[in-house]
Symmetry: C2
Amino acid sequence: MSKLNSVGKSEIRKDAVSKVTGESLFINDVKFPDMLYAATVRSPAPHIKILGINDAEARKLPGVKGIYYAKDIPGENKVPLVFQDYPFLADKTAQFQGQAVGLVVADDPISARRAAALVKIKYKELPAVFDPLEALRKKSPKIYGKDNVFKKFVIKKGDIKKAKADVEIEDTFTVNYQVHAYLETQGAIAVPRDDGGMNVYGSMQCPFYVQDAVAKVLGETYNKVKIVQQTTGGAFGGKEDVPSIVCGHAAMLARLTGKPVKLIYSREEDFQSMSKRHPGWVKIKYGAKKNGKIVFCKVKYILDGGAFATLSPIVLWRGTVHASGPYEIDNVLIETYAAATNKVPCGAYRGFGQPQVSFANESLIDMLAEKLNMNPARLREINAIRKGGTTATNQKITESIGLLKTMALSKKSAGWAKKWKKPSARKGVKKYGIGMASSIYGVGLGAGGQHLAKSGSFVQIEPDGSVIIAVGNTEMGQGARTVLSQIAAETLGAPYEIVDMMPTDTSRVPDSGPTVASRTTVMSGTSVMNACKVIRGRIDKVVRKKLKAKGKVLSENGFYKIGNKKISYTEVIAECWAERVHLSHAGWFRVEGTTFGEKDGQGDPYYVYTWSTMIAEVEVDTETGLVEVLNFISAHDIGKAINPREAEGQIQGGSLQGIGYALSENLVIVKGRMLNPNFTGYIIPTIMDSPDIKPIIVEEKYPKGPYGAKGLGEPPLICAAPAIANAIYNATGKRIKALPMIPERVKCA
Amino acid sequence: MSKLNSVGKSEIRKDAVSKVTGESLFINDVKFPDMLYAATVRSPAPHIKILGINDAEARKLPGVKGIYYAKDIPGENKVPLVFQDYPFLADKTAQFQGQAVGLVVADDPISARRAAALVKIKYKELPAVFDPLEALRKKSPKIYGKDNVFKKFVIKKGDIKKAKADVEIEDTFTVNYQVHAYLETQGAIAVPRDDGGMNVYGSMQCPFYVQDAVAKVLGETYNKVKIVQQTTGGAFGGKEDVPSIVCGHAAMLARLTGKPVKLIYSREEDFQSMSKRHPGWVKIKYGAKKNGKIVFCKVKYILDGGAFATLSPIVLWRGTVHASGPYEIDNVLIETYAAATNKVPCGAYRGFGQPQVSFANESLIDMLAEKLNMNPARLREINAIRKGGTTATNQKITESIGLLKTMALSKKSAGWAKKWKKPSARKGVKKYGIGMASSIYGVGLGAGGQHLAKSGSFVQIEPDGSVIIAVGNTEMGQGARTVLSQIAAETLGAPYEIVDMMPTDTSRVPDSGPTVASRTTVMSGTSVMNACKVIRGRIDKVVRKKLKAKGKVLSENGFYKIGNKKISYTEVIAECWAERVHLSHAGWFRVEGTTFGEKDGQGDPYYVYTWSTMIAEVEVDTETGLVEVLNFISAHDIGKAINPREAEGQIQGGSLQGIGYALSENLVIVKGRMLNPNFTGYIIPTIMDSPDIKPIIVEEKYPKGPYGAKGLGEPPLICAAPAIANAIYNATGKRIKALPMIPERVKCA
């Protein structure tokens, strides 16, 4: 095996300089000549019948170029997501406060917003439902189908009724919304093309979803709709579904006006209208033997989907698959529901249905440990899935299983053995506590998105040896551009410095699915690697000819080597060009064989799993209820860190988002009205709130991943909240069963 | 063989609507925010030593942002063309009037031009040479090397001294410049990228030449330099080399200012500075037997290259290879030279060194026919290369040889047999005449550009079945976008309407050589076809599965068929996407085996030839010298017309340019000073000057071309001038031996 030249090194981020210097162009920095600006007219109430619209005053405003409604849509008024229930613009009814009803275009953004505010929607309020449990009751107002159920799933492994436990424990947990709080709000610019097509530039994660949406809203063929991702200021799942709407609106207006149209959301309307992490309700029960072996797990998990399905079905699916945690349990029954309510739709947020259920199951593990009079770390170790073990879906784990290692290393790093004491042992007003939680994370879309489990790429070596790569996944701050450049550099034998990725553009590569689910390193990485291997094969032939040698060609520090003969990369590439060797290739990768039984949820839902353990140390002020996280350890088995520093960055960022989710982020919606749609009222952690987050990388190689890598993006958030909840309990003896664990709750618990 | 669905049909041009409606965006229509405008400071005299520059006054002009010179170039001051003799900006000396010395950037184009006019170059004039024959003399001032010879070639077949002729004839012919007179002058916009790279948009034929130039002038790696061809308003060879300079200048200024920079040439500076068709001098001699069989041909051919080599070496090469015409002659001696003079450099113009020498050899054929007392058509038929015959380079022509057919069909169409009479038979002041000329045209770059004989492509079928193609060659009005879409549609079985080509972009496809030499249909066409075949192979598997049938899959009107079973294209593509079949591919094509002996010019310089015959009918006013072309027949064996209407358009446009070259286009440069750099003084034919040009397409299939096609772009111009010269002689008995045949010359001959 060749020594690695770039993979495994902490190469400098490709976008580091331009982001630090401010040269990066985010969508709001971009202008086109004769560009118009748009603003959105929104539903003033949670559930309304639209009786009429009076926009006479708005149209009189200087600079206003047009106001458009559902009837003006050139194509279809359905946002193509998992279902087709969400209209681009509300027509006869609107189902949540903030839903888009109309669009204004004007010469400048202020006039557009002013005009939008002047549009008067005449309406009558319809009966509404705001609580997901109520929504599922027979007599509730129905806003989706006959039962308000977007989706339900069942997992049934073994038979929980036959399982004989010595100890049983059950409790109910609730979690609130989480808002993505990306630095950059939603935004897009649509530009009519001179061939009649439409180019759309925007802040987004999933350009192919957007392409689909824009093609549909315009009634245009896909080859005339080019979507280019602009430098994106954070996404975290929040730019998975919503850009389909934002870009669809911009494209529709560009088509109707014949001009470029920019649509940028204010922070408030971003809060009010964009998909969030689902609030949820989890009732969970474990049964265990005295020795700690868990023999059954029963879960009922309900997500509050909001007014339209968007991604709820697949968010629910991931939560379902992982509802019983990273443990081998022979008897499992999981029932899950995504319910419709008259609130802002919920969608993807880092973790995708898992943090909610992880808060429940990992809190309950600690409660079970206490009942068993056992160190909770020990209980986790006893039940942890090992090589050859099975998951809740009865998937046999045969490789790349580093769960116990994440537990061992994080315990060692924290000094768990010395620091963990029973809750009753803590004294004083300010109390110290330590808590732990673990998780299993299925990498990629799995069986829930099998049709999307594909990834295209394009790799080209230029005449001077520099390399262009293009993929269908996006750089949104997570480091894809850097990591994929490293994989290409490694596979081609090219210096990392002269490899770079083009902005993601739907016309360059085939639909490669979304940039979600920690799938980019594996999916785009393998696709890029596959393309590079084809090109490398052509290069190797030239190397053998030039070196007059046979056998395997290795690469090292800008040279190709066979035995002790070597020749520089630059010289070989020049020779390839002189011989007119084809140095471009379109790569492809698809994943086969994931399964999930309709009736019992049994099967192999994911091709590989990332395993994680987190330990939180906290100090709880028992008088104020304020929780300070003193230290945070976040350990993840990711197969292989292509770029260790970037992996550590992912771990730190994700864990801090998990801390915010645990302690402070509290969106308040009362009777469908959002009360704090801004950072004054919705508190995210700042650097002052951040503990020293210590990342630990475990590398249990995944042989089918690029250079052994699995996925990392989502796991660092997932079990942060239960680790903190367990630490709070460890400090105070008080079990907080609702997120966020704001001071009021901690104090009053 | 499957029936053809799109190839061979006169499908509607892809750019027809946007060009007719004015929606097409040419480079001057494009704006970027904060864009600056550039203008060029030029050498005031033909050969100068620069002593100093005073730009104080220019810098004071409001709006001026900077003035830059050779010393400010971030990278290398050499335009990378065939040689490296041409600097982006003159440093110590300038070698022609109009050569770029400095560049001004300003807030608006008028201020930029005003400032450029205010820059004072202090200089002393150096000895200059303006005539190529004088340039080759020992005592002439030397501006290139020791002998002013950019390049020389020799072709030696047989031994002209041993050839025994009954009749010999020799004469000397001269030809003048021809200016491309495209509708749109040279122009570019360079835009700094937020990753430190540079995007350049411009009017151009050869984006990869431009990429090379921009990378060099900036000192940047190629993967950071993306060149995108903007809709281009005509080129004809004039946008082959010059855009490297224009785009290089814009890129340099964008780098130095950090802003987008637009540089658009005025018509006058375009005339003064851009490469033109070479003036030339041809001395030619034929020897023939009494029966008309030509036994030897001797040619001395000198091109006036101007101040820098640009493309002169390869223009000369094509002229050399074709200097003895489309005839089988056993003994040939051709000596050719490209000489340096202190005038604007010459480069590529449709025909590329051939129209000059064709004027000489096809005029002399008629003179020989008269000496032999033979119908000139008959003399051509006797000597025409037939299947199995050999060219001047001793290349054996084994296939696709329709020369005699072009002669027969054009004669028939003209009524030659009845109309052609000996010159003495014509009476009156206004005299009717008919003339003929034929040519051989090597398709593509041949051995003279073997390293460029490659072509990349990218083809992608979108989820709705619509198709994107991308190639490295450009659409510049000749119809590439349409023809390549037809080839893709045909090969994939897709409806033509949903196939289209992306704007040419160097980052999408590998260096595919230039868009010149009638090479695009064969080179990019085959590359696209190759890519489509790979994708089609994947599609066919799905068709067989869906139809539960084996065997060859045919396509017909949007359906795939096996035997009598059929399934729609749309259904199959949907199934391919459902199965995640990879529907993208990067295609490649390269041509092997062309040769040209250094010493004797023997070999197979081209892989295939297009054969042409033109017949002109004229009326000459013997009192004014005015020649009216009454009728013009232009017949070409092009293998296969992918789109007959587009092919006819090429023939008509090229022939009319040939008529302008023959009769009116007369650039006057006196002592290195251009006297008529505009359309007031330089007369191109208008629609009022255009006769009915009748295109005749002969299809002698070229088995290795896409669907049998060869090249057509250049041939329609090549032998127009000698056909008209022969017609004038036929009318008047006066042999005009210099182009253009303006009234003064015709009257005084």
